[in-house]
């Protein structure tokens, strides 16, 4: 059904996926697992035609997705994103009915078939009860079920789910994954990116493990979740046992390698921040970033690596909530990387416990030098950043004054 052949994707000089091969057959729910920034979202984005492969190709039912129109592809593949920006007052029923978009011509009214599809989808996902409520007035779990209903209403042969359960409570997680199971039981295919390895093992027929943009293992949950695979992919010590209730593999992370345990917050936007995020993500740090305006380059990099960000609308002043969220993130981060030159980011950097300042221009002084009370390492080349952060984390007193190569 879904065939991914020798797929590679690069964003500028960041290689997001290299040489990935993957097949999802009808009747199969395949789980896509791997650490943040491994390339899971990128892979899903390529299958639904959002991203163009740099090399290789993706076919759905034999058709190359880059050659299909958005409309034709939307009849075959539906996507359930991680979260939806549904902040307006459409009734739930209308949001679900939007799933019929690829079937209606521009001038057609809502037909009876459309309505039947929407009703059936709402019944299956148990959202029919609140079909007339406004979408901005339902809870997170309910909202995600509405999005699943919309995808089912699209009547696709393949369903892509991008960490659909990431922000849900355990009850809703199980409900969403059960819906995906019912979907494939009808002879259709589903590919689901999922964080929780034990949950993935419990619901998926097969698992595909990606790390660093490469396919590490594929096969039954038991074979993929072998301890050495998990340890390699996540850089952790892992213990895999059999779950006492479900009998499926249960992964427990016992101890992480100290150098990858750290939370790094990246302040600032633009090209430098984008590269810093990519470098740190590849090195396996747990990263947060923000405040980034919509459309910022660094935001794209953060999304490509599945990184938590605080975002703001362009033009709008940064809201107090967003500022508080970032300040908190900066305070708790083991290390803060300052990649911006503006006042706001400098002020935020004052809260940092450890600070690394990145300047890509040779010999450029730090504007204002406002962070005197914090011991600061300076990096003038992105290549040195990971080493710089690690040095800072070790608490070594050495100051990094690496001259720029470029």
């Amino acid at each position: 059904m879904i065939d991914v052949e020798e797929l590679s994707i690069a964003f500028g000089d960041v290689q997001a996926l290299s040489d990935v091969n993957l097949t999802v057959e009808r009747g199969e729910l395949v789980g896509l697992v791997g650490p943040n920034g491994a390339g899971k979202s990128t892979l899903l984005g390529t299958i639904n035609g959002l991203l163009e492969p740099t090399a290789g190709r993706v076919t759905v039912d034999g058709d190359d997705v880059t050659e299909l129109s958005a409309r034709a592809l939307a009849r075959q593949v539906a996507t359930v994103p991680q979260e939806t920006s549904l902040s307006f007052a459409f009734p739930v029923r209308d949001v679900v009915a939007m799933g019929r978009t690829p079937y209606r011509s521009r001038f057609e009214r809502v037909s009876r078939t459309d309505r039947e599809h929407a009703d059936r989808a709402m019944k299956r996902t148990d959202v029919a009860r609140f079909a007339d409520r406004s979408i901005d007035a339902v809870s997170g779990g309910e909202r995600q079920r509405v999005v699943v209903a919309r995808a089912l209403c699209q009547d696709p042969d393949a369903l892509l789910l991008d960490e659909p359960t990431a922000s849900l409570d355990i009850d809703h997680q199980v409900r969403i994954l059960s819906l995906a199971r019912e979907f494939v039981a009808e002879g259709r295919a589903a590919l689901c990116a999922i964080h929780d390895l034990s949950l993935a093992a419990r619901f998926c027929d097969r698992l595909v493990l990606v790390a660093d943009g490469q396919l590490l293992a594929a096969g039954t949950p038991e074979s993929v979740l072998a301890e050495e695979h998990v340890e390699h992919a996540f850089g952790t010590e892992a213990t895999v046992t059999s779950h006492p209730v479900t009998g499926t593999p249960d992964v427990t992370v016992t101890e992480r390698q100290s150098d990858r345990d750290a939370h790094v917050h990246v302040l600032g936007g633009g090209h430098t921040a984008a590269r810093a995020i990519a470098a740190l993500a590849t090195a396996g740090f747990s990263i947060s970033a923000g405040v980034l305006p919509d459309g910022d380059r660094a935001l794209d990099a953060a999304r490509a690596h599945d990184i938590e960000t605080v975002t703001a609308a362009p033009f709008a002043p940064v809201s107090r909530a967003a500022r508080q969220e970032v300040t908190e993130s900066v305070r708790t981060a083991d290390c803060v990387v300052l990649a911006g030159t503006d006042e706001t980011n400098h002020a935020l950097a004052e809260h940092a416990r450890r600070l690394v300042v990145v300047r890509e221009v040779a010999g450029e002084a730090i504007a204002g030098e406002r962070t005197t009370d914090i011991e600061t390492a300076r990096v003038t080349d992105i290549g040195e950043l990971v080493a710089g952060v690690e040095a800072r984390l070790d608490g070594e007193p050495r100051r990094l004054e690496t001259p720029a190569d470029d």
């Binding site: 984005g45 959002l50 592809l73 994103p81 939806t84 902040s87 307006f88 459409f90 919509d294 459309g295």
Partner: protein
């Protein structure tokens, strides 16, 4: 009657166009502050008109004042679009920023022309404030067909607009050719605004306030919101123009729409009725 009727009709047509394009722009940008002028259409029209009045050069193709305004509007909008487009993609945020920058730049040109306006300063100022006072049937005859045709096509795109509210990635996965729809919506609403601004000058606030008020009344579904806002724009502008000419000295209608519209908008804002799309 021969004076009033074309004027009332033109007010209705211009209000219709501004209401409709304001609705499209707010939906398109998913930004409650968007209005028809956001991508430089109005400033472009103003530049064209002011240049035509002030500069002693003959316009090519024997364009009249309105032709110059119309051309200026479209050139500005197309310029903003080109600046914001890279590799076939036009990110909405870039478009917004490019629009602001181009408006500022054109504002500088207008100011420069105004300094050198001399005797025509009064005429220029009057044009810039938005006016309907010397409307004739020929204005109606050029604007009305444009408004109706563009509106008809926009109605065909209301479902795309609804789906685009979900965000571009989701719209794509629901089968919308996102970049193509964006191009078409942008072009249509630019032509619609340009057609209105060319005959009436810059009449502010209609395109911003009317869609917000209508969204409160009929909800966010563009299939209903677009025609409602267009009609409400008509009614609002006809009423404002009636008010504008009922006083002892006639006012440019732009002053009335802004003076009435802005406080009303602030009232809605304080009541927290208007906060998002």
């Amino acid at each position: 009657m021969d004076l009033r009727l074309p004027r009332i009709t033109l007010a209705a047509v211009v209000g219709f166009a501004l209401g409709a394009s304001g609705t499209v722009m707010q939906g398109f940008f998913r930004n409650p502050m968007a209005d028809p002028s956001i991508i430089g259409v109005s400033t472009g029209a103003a530049t064209g008109a002011v240049a035509w009045i002030v500069l002693p050069i003959a316009t090519p193709f024997a364009l009249g004042l309105q032709g110059a305004a119309f051309a200026g509007a479209l050139i500005a909008a197309f310029g903003v679009y080109l600046i914001a487009t890279e590799g076939g993609r036009t990110p909405v945020a870039t478009l917004l920023l490019a629009g602001v920058a181009v408006q500022t730049f054109l504002g500088a040109i207008i100011s420069y022309l105004l300094i050198n306006a001399g005797e025509s300063l009064e005429r220029v100022t009057y044009w810039l404030m938005g006016h309907l006072h010397n409307a004739g049937w020929d204005d109606v005859m050029t604007t009305l067909p444009v408004a109706l045709v563009v509106f008809a096509v926009l109605v065909a795109y209301t479902r795309d607009l609804n789906v685009l509210l979900l965000g571009e990635n989701e719209a794509h996965s629901l089968g919308i050719e996102v970049e193509r729809s964006k191009r078409i919506l942008l072009a249509l609403s630019s032509v619609l605004t340009a057609g209105a601004v060319a005959v009436s000058g810059v009449i502010g606030f209609v395109g911003l306030v009317v869609p917000h008020v209508m969204r409160l009344l009929v909800g966010p579904d563009h299939r209903i919101l677009l025609p409602t806002s267009a009609l409400a724009g008509s009614v609002f502008l006809v009423a404002a123009d009636t008010l504008a000419r009922s006083g002892p000295a006639e006012l440019p209608v732009g002053i009335v729409t802004a003076a009435v519209g802005a406080p009303f908008f602030l009232y809605l804002l304080r009541r927290r009725e208007v906060h998002a799309l």
